[in-house]
Structure formats: C-alpha cells, structure tokens
Amino acid sequence: MSTDRIEKSIVLQAPRSRVWRAIAGAAEFGAWFGVTLEGDFAPGARLTAQLTSPGYEHVTMEITTERVEPEHLLSYRWHPYAIEPGVDYANEPTTLVEFHLAEVPEGTRLTVIESGFDHIPPVRRALAFRMNDQGWAEQLTNIARYVSS
C-alpha cells in the first residue's frame, strides 16, 4: 500500500453530465460532501469550505482549484484533515484531489485520487490519529482520569 496516495473508484448510475454537475457545481458539491462552499471551481480559483458535520462546524478549509475539464476532470489542492482548532495550515503542504469521470454502460465511472500525503508533516499524522474520534478520545480521557485518581 502506498503511503502517498488514495485511489477510489465507483460506478454511478447517472449520466456523466449529471455527475459532473454534482462535483463541479459548488453548491451541489457542498450538499453531498458536507460543506458550505464559497466561490466557484475555475482554474486557479480559491474556495472556502466550511464543514457542516455536527461537531466540526468551526472548521473551514481553503481549496485551490487546479484543472477544470468539463465532464472529464476536476482537480484541486487542500489541506487534508485540517480540523485542529487554532492551527494555521496555510504554510503546510497540500494534497492534490482529482475527480476523473468516464462513461461506462451502467452510467459513469468516477475515480477519485488524493495524493501528496508523504509530504504531510508527521506531527499532523500523529494528531489526526489521536483525533480519530473526538468523542471517543474524550471518553477515554475521562476513564483515564477516573482510573488514575
């Protein structure tokens, strides 16, 4: 297993034009991804994403669009797992996210590739590990306090 990239492939029973709109349209992207996006995907354009998942509403992410090739490819850069409050991720390395669309008999094959993880500082990985589930971590902290007192 590579430590640098994640690749996912899924066949969607919907036309390529429909899938493209759901990905490249900022409002539609936000609806399924779980963010409120400000801005539009256009080459070089920056967008701000505010998470809508319960417990993560304080998190905003910067997205920088790279390529927009209608119904074929959308790619952007962002900071993966940038959910730690009070941390300025601006000067840290980003990962590249690519959405590749291809027509198949059943509808559309979508391939998502996120790459560049090898450049993410180890301390971020360690923190992400610890923050796997904040509720869980908090509970264990409580248990730890209980057993050590």
Partner: protein, 118 residues
C-alpha cells in the same frame, strides 16, 4: 468530512494509549517530542509550568504505554517518540480513505436518487 466510527475492539486496544495521554502535561510532552524531535529533560522542562521531577514522572508513564523511550547520551538521557511511523501513516490514510468511501456513498445517493425518482 464526517467522523469515522470506531469498533469496540480497536477501542479496547487503544485504551492504554489514551489513558497515558489523558493528561494535559503528558499531551504537551508528546506534542513537543513530535514537533521538536528527540530531546533531553532539560530542554523538555524549558518553559514548562511543572518541575523537572514531574516531567520525569510523566515521561515514565508515557514510556510504560510504549509512547516514548530514552537513550543515554553522556550524563543525560535523550527522550524520543516511540511510534511506528509507517503504521501511523497507514492509519492516517485509512481514516481519510474511509471518509472518501462515506463521501462517495453520499454522492451516489445524491446523483442516483434523481435518476430513479425524477
């Protein structure tokens, strides 16, 4: 990104780790060792609100949990984080991978719902 769920097995496995980390001073020590690399107690005590003796005690607890270890260097002992970097990187990727799985399932519902019932 939604929060990944955690099974009871991995929870039990991780409990001793979190017990060791369930303390502000020890968390701060782990952060300092992560960010600053291997270092002596003298350096770790620098700017800390607690005594050298307390730091030594906390490092002992972290060592028992397998999170840190010390190597003698001259008259001092150098402390460092004791994690399997590669395992950590894989775990990190697993988490993000799971989030993509969940996001793509939501996308499927989003684009397929319209096709099935326009």
């Amino acid at each position: 990104m939604s929060r990944p769920s955690t099974g009871a097995t991995s929870l039990a496995h991780a409990a001793p780790l979190f017990a060791a980390l369930g303390d502000q001073t020890r968390l701060a020590l782990v952060d300092r060792l992560c960010a600053g690399g291997p270092q002596s107690i003298t350096r770790l005590t620098n700017g800390a609100a607690v005594t050298r003796q307390a730091i030594t005690k906390h490092l002992g607890i972290l060592a028992d949990a397998g999170l840190v270890h010390a190597t003698p260097r001259g008259r001092e002992r150098i402390w460092e984080i004791d994690t399997d970097r590669l395992a950590e990187a894989h775990h990190y990727l697993d988490q993000i991978s799971r989030q993509w799985d969940q996001a793509l399932e939501r996308l499927r519902l989003f684009v397929e719902a319209e096709e099935i019932s326009p």
